[in-house]
Structures are given as structure tokens and as C-alpha cells.
């Protein structure tokens, strides 16, 4: 079942990429960004999971050594926290760009927003 979990995560990643590359609607592209972020964050969390693990937070009256024997890996969580922040930042910037593009062209459709040659 572990293999299926990983493979579905990679599939989710590909759905995000598909939305970014093949879709023409600005809003849908922003949603693709969100899905892509989810997939990457999910992969990092999965990589750090330990079966029946506890959160890496020290309960009162326990030593770190006791916690270390059964906590999940805290490092990927710290990385994901940074990655969530980066994802929010990218989304905010993309929304700002989409809003301005709508102001200029009156549409979210990339087919009508095409002045540049590839």
C-alpha cells in the first residue's frame, strides 16, 4: 500500500503540472500552482513519516531520548513549513498578476492575452 501512496502523490503532482502547462485560464493556472504545492508538500511529509509515530513535540515529563525513539522525522516538517510560505507567496503574486491582466484585457483567457511571440 505504501507504493500506491507514493504513486498517487506523484500523480497529483502531474495533475498540477498538466493544469499549468495545458490550461489557458489564468484562474485555473493559479489552481494548478496550488495543487502542485500540495503534492510536493505531501511528498515531503510522507517521506518523514514513521509508522505509529508521534508528533515531534516534547510532552511534559519526557526526555528527548524517549521522544526520539518514536517521533516522526521533524526535519521534513520544518522544510514543508518553509515551502508552504513560499507557496502562499507565489499564489499571492500570481493573483496580483492575474487581477492586473484582467484589468488590461477584460478576460482570464490566455487565448485572448497573447501579444508575445513564443
Amino acid at each position: 500500500m505504501g507504493i500506491a501512496i507514493y504513486m498517487l502523490t506523484f500523480l497529483l503532482l502531474l495533475i498540477g503540472v498538466y493544469a499549468l502547462v495545458a490550461k489557458k485560464n489564468l484562474v485555473r493556472i493559479i489552481m494548478g500552482i496550488a495543487i502542485l504545492e500540495y503534492a510536493v508538500n505531501l511528498l515531503l511529509v510522507l517521506v518523514g513519516y514513521r509508522r505509529d509515530g508521534t508528533p515531534p513535540i516534547l510532552p511534559r515529563g519526557q526526555t528527548a531520548a524517549e521522544l526520539a525513539a518514536r517521533a516522526v522525522d521533524p526535519l521534513p516538517q520544518a522544510l514543508v513549513l518553509t515551502s508552504i510560505v513560499i507557496g502562499l507567496s507565489v499564489t499571492a503574486l500570481a493573483v496580483a498578476l492575474a487581477v492586473r491582466l484582467y484589468d488590461k484585457y477584460g478576460t482570464f483567457d490566455m487565448n485572448d492575452i497573447r501579444n508575445l511571440r513564443g
Binding site: I15, G48, A68, V72, T82, S89, T91, L93
Partner: protein, 193 residues
């Protein structure tokens, strides 16, 4: 094993929501589907022992939803159903297929080479624990915090967090750049020097 099943179902739910978000014709439904996927992710975070992530994930989700819904509610969606760009779709399908095969080999392994550790059995639990085992062993003495993730984020790897704070700053400044109504001064104000 039940937790595996739960997680598999939740990821399946995220996949379905993601597909709906990408393919449905109504933008509002699509945004809500993305929101549902995000909430499923935060539930997965909770199940996987990462309450530190579930919390910001939900919050970020809400902010994103508010931004996206406001954006589409005040604007008419005039996008047309255009015929599928067959070339791009084919490239994505082909590349995606190659990627999935490679990922499958990476997870399952081919011959004797190293594979991605099986789900639930990271290096931390095995014989060659990496750098994070050292963090877990002594974070209370080193940093004096009870929450190991915060200890890593703001002490062991605080330099990354400086970068993280900078990313938000950059995005906000970039947002202001983009939202300026006038970027260039008009020609009249711009004589050659």
C-alpha cells in the same frame, strides 16, 4: 495498516478534487474543489504526526480561497471552451508517463540499487539515521524548546527561515509593483535628458 488506508483514501480524494478543479467548467466549483483538496491535505498532516503543518495549511487554504473567490466573483469569466491543444497535451502525457515510470522504479527498485524508503519506515527508524536523529536526541538541551520543529526552524536552520521571511517580503513587494496603476511616467514627463 488502517492509517495507510485512510491516507490512501484521502490522497485519492485530493486527486479527485484536483481533477475536478482542473476540468470542471465552472470556476467557482473549481476553486471550492481546490479548497477541499487543501483541507484533505491538512487532515493528512494531522494523521501523519505533523500538527505544526496542519495549522498553517488550513490558514493558508482559507486565505487562498478568499483571494481566489474575491477575484472571480467580481469579474465575469469570458473564457471560451477552446479545442484542446493536442500538441501540449501529448507532450504532458508523454512526459508524465515517463515520470511515473521513473517514479515507480524509484519506489519499487530495480535490482540491488537503493530505493526510496518504504512508507512509514524512514531512515530515522532504521540503522543509518540522518541528521534529524541528532536533532531529535538533543533539541531540548540545545535550543530549550519543547516543539522540535520550531527548534529546527528557528535555531538549527534559522538561516533558511531568514530566506523564508525574505520570500514573503519579496512577494509582497512584487505584488505592490504589479498593482501600481501606472508603471511608466507619461511621455510628456520624459524628455531625453
Amino acid at each position: 495498516m488502517t492509517i495507510d488506508l485512510f491516507i490512501l483514501l484521502l490522497i485519492g480524494f485530493m486527486l479527485a478534487a484536483g481533477l475536478i478543479a482542473v476540468e470542471t467548467s465552472d470556476l467557482l466549483s473549481a476553486v471550492i474543489a481546490v479548497g477541499a483538496a487543501g483541507f484533505a491535505l491538512s487532515v493528512i498532516d494531522l494523521l501523519l504526526g505533523a500538527p505544526d503543518l496542519a495549522f498553517p495549511q488550513v490558514l493558508v487554504e482559507i486565505i487562498t480561497l478568499v483571494l481566489l473567490i474575491r477575484m472571480i466573483m467580481t469579474r465575469r469569466d469570458t473564457s471560451r471552451q477552446t479545442p484542446r491543444d493536442t500538441l501540449r497535451t501529448a507532450v504532458v502525457l508523454l512526459g508524465g508517463g515517463v515520470f511515473l515510470v521513473a517514479a515507480f522504479l524509484a519506489v519499487v527498485g530495480l535490482g540491488a540499487g537503493a530505493t526510496v524508503p518504504a512508507f512509514g519506515e524512514p531512515l530515522l527508524a532504521g540503522g543509518h539515521p540522518g541528521v534529524s536523529a541528532a536533532y531529535l536526541w538533543q533539541f531540548d538541551k540545545d535550543t530549550g524548546v519543547a516543539n522540535c520543529v520550531m527548534g529546527i526552524l528557528l535555531d538549527y536552520r534559522a538561516y533558511d527561515t531568514l530566506g523564508e521571511a525574505t520570500v514573503i517580503f519579496v512577494a509582497i513587494m512584487g505584488g505592490y509593483v504589479v498593482l501600481r496603476k501606472v508603471g511608466r511616467k507619461r511621455q510628456a514627463q520624459e524628455p531625453s535628458p
